[in-house]
Amino acid sequence: MDTELILMQLFSGVALGAILVITALGLSIIFGMLGVVNFAHGALFMVGAYAGLWVASLTGSFWWGLLVAPIMIGVFGMAIEYVLIRPLYGRSIDDPLLLTFGLSYVLVEGVRIVFGSDGIPFPTPSSLTGVVDLGVGFFPIYRIFVVGVVFLVVVLLWLGLEKTKFGLIVRAGARDPTMMKVLGVDISKVWLLVFGLGVGLASLGGVLSGPMRSVNPEMGALVLAEAFVVTVIGGLGSLVGSIIAGLLVGVVISMTALFAPEMATIVMFALMAIVLLIRPQGLFGKLA
């Protein structure tokens, strides 16, 4: 096996990992701050892809789709939080889980009714088509662009959470919501924004995935599983964990694809099992 192929495979793994990171981040943020396990995450990813496609076809530009759809679906996410999730705070963790699980069915069926179940083409924006020579092999320009966008999002999130007053409130709210209320912070507003942010990230993942995969109502099903695996490996609620675990899972999938391709999907579940056995709280999680 030559080095070029292994290097190329490593790079493919990192690029795939970037996609996994963007799908896992939203799930992780919502769980970390709100303690809600959002089972509609995959469906919202799918709705995001459709919204992106819709905006792109209205405006004739992929860029508008990429920019507007996550905001649109993020606002939709806030509405979900306000109307559906909010009454369930303080109840057992299963309640919002079941609610979002049901919501995912509603969203998938809704999209089937509006857009049909056949799948719709989402062409790669013309400025990002083609391949680029990395020295060890060729790689699609669009996928490199996705890695760049994910990197940018991660940096912005880190700055937002670590360097701003809002970030401070969010982090404090996750640690001790009662104390925040005592200090006079309207924590429900924070939660509303955080839920919207998580959903917006899911839908950004959907728009970014559109040109790589075909857009169809079931495209979110596998994404939900992947996002869960990544957040569990990284440690539930840990952002750093999600990022490291996403890249790790991407590389592990890619290396497995080289030596035992038929195991490429199952290997991430095996990895999760091993991590859970050795470190039940995940790589970066804290023990409860």
Binding site: D118, T124, G130, M212
Partner: protein, 416 residues
């Protein structure tokens, strides 16, 4: 008018009888006379994956099957008996399909089953119909269903099989010395297609430079691409189905594999081409049981297309959809000849039936009940060459119906 009313009333009573039989918890098998409906409607069960990754193909199957039923009913039914199609969602799951099929047989008292899409699910249905001695016209690709160990005298295989399909595509696209890299879905369909291609390759003298099995239903194929590229093939042969086909071709093109190799698939799917853009599929070659464009050369295709257009608001029939039509039509024709639904008589009628309802002459070979029929080889058109939204493919070869492209009866394990 009065007859209609009487029919409705009779239906009503029969349904109530069935419910009553179930309600008391008595086994329907123990009292077959109760549920054996008083009315003489011919009921055909149609399990198909209405939800899941093959949903687009499944819905077309239903529309085509409904058209066949409607045409018979409009002509006064089969020997005066009305035909009813009972569609069930098998969710692309063998267990679900077996349960639905059993229900159709036991509860709905169907006279025959047509349907199922996916080689594995089809074999599950085949198990049930074989055990119950119920007629089954299978309309999804399979080689094993022809072989003696899975053979059921009640089963007729209307779909093409991988030996025919991959063979026709290989004969068209491969030459002596061609280097072929295979990307294959890791389940029955992929394995059977790969076997079909390799069988044809051996005869032609084309070389396999590598095989990659991918997990069924994978969304991302990027991690397989570097290795496929490093194999330096002349042809990239992708044996998978439904959305896997659209996703894998799209990503192979993204990775620039089309500049390096020609992409070939066993079955070029109408709906998957629609789900991606013409640029992506341009130049991809694959086999097919049916393409609507046949109408320019075949009167039966024109008749089928026109009837389908009239029934579906101008839409055209698709490949897997057409199986629903040819499968149901052949069965009903045989019932007409047999003068009813007596299983043995219908089997005899199907074995000697010659039919041409959409794609040229067809007949079921006696030993394995495989439908001997033409195989099309299609090439996806360039956007500039398309004369309309449905003008997707050009027919580059049309192998006429012949037993020579099938494995021989002795090869399948049948006594000579």
């Amino acid at each position: 008018m009065t007859k209609d009313i009487r029919d409705t009333k009779r239906n009503h009573i029969s349904r109530r009888h069935v419910l009553a039989a179930l309600g008391t918890g008595a086994s329907v098998v123990a009292m077959p006379w109760i549920a054996r409906a008083a009315d003489d409607t011919i009921r055909i069960g149609f399990p198909t994956p209405l939800t899941g990754p093959f949903a687009a193909e499944a819905k077309d199957q239903v529309k085509s099957a409904e058209l066949a039923v409607k045409q018979f009913n409009d002509k006064g039914g089969v020997n005066g008996r009305k035909v009813e199609l009972l569609v069930r969602d098998d969710k692309l799951n063998g267990g679900e399909a077996a349960t639905r099929t059993l229900e159709l047989i036991e509860k709905d008292k169907v006279h025959a089953i047509v349907g199922s899409l996916s080689s594995a699910v089809q074999l599950a249905v085949n198990e049930v119909t074989r055990a119950r001695g119920v007629l089954y016209v299978s309309i999804s690709q399979s080689d094993t269903i022809n072989e003696v160990k899975d053979f059921s005298k009640y089963t007729f295989h209307e779909a093409l099989n991988p030996t025919m399909t991959a063979g026709a595509v290989a004969r068209h696209a491969f030459k002596k010395g061609t280097k072929v890299a295979h990307l294959v879905a890791d389940y029955a369909y992929g394995h059977e297609m790969l076997r079909g291609f390799k069988r044809a390759q051996a005869t032609i003298g084309a070389e396999t430079v590598g095989e990659i099995m991918h997990p069924f239903g994978a969304a991302d194929y990027s991690t397989f691409m570097p290795r496929l590229r490093s194999m330096r093939p002349d042809i990239l042969c992708i044996s998978n189905f439904g959305r896997d086909q659209a996703n894998s071709i799209k990503q192979a093109v993204d990775f620039g594999l089309k500049q390096q190799a020609k992409i070939v698939v066993p079955v070029l799917l109408h709906n998957q081409r629609l789900a991606v853009s013409p640029e992506v599929f341009e130049g991809v070659v694959g086999g097919s049981n049916y393409y609507w464009g046949l109408e320019s050369q075949l009167p039966s295709a024109k008749t089928f297309n026109d009837a389908y257009r009239a029934a579906n608001g101008g839409a055209i029939p698709t490949d897997y959809g057409a199986y629903g039509y040819t499968g149901v039509s052949s069965l009903l024709q045989a019932m007409q000849v047999a003068g009813g639904t007596d299983t043995d008589k219908v089997i005899a009628a199907l074995e000697s039936l010659k039919y041409d309802v959409a794609k040229g002459p067809q007949y079921y070979r006696k030993c394995d009940h495989q439908s001997v029929q033409s195989v099309l080889v299609l090439e996806s058109k360039k956007k500039a060459d398309m004369k309309g939204d449905s003008d997707l493919f050009s027919i580059v070869a049309n192998e006429p119906a012949s037993e020579n492209v099938l494995r021989s009866c002795t090869e399948l394990g049948f006594p000579a």
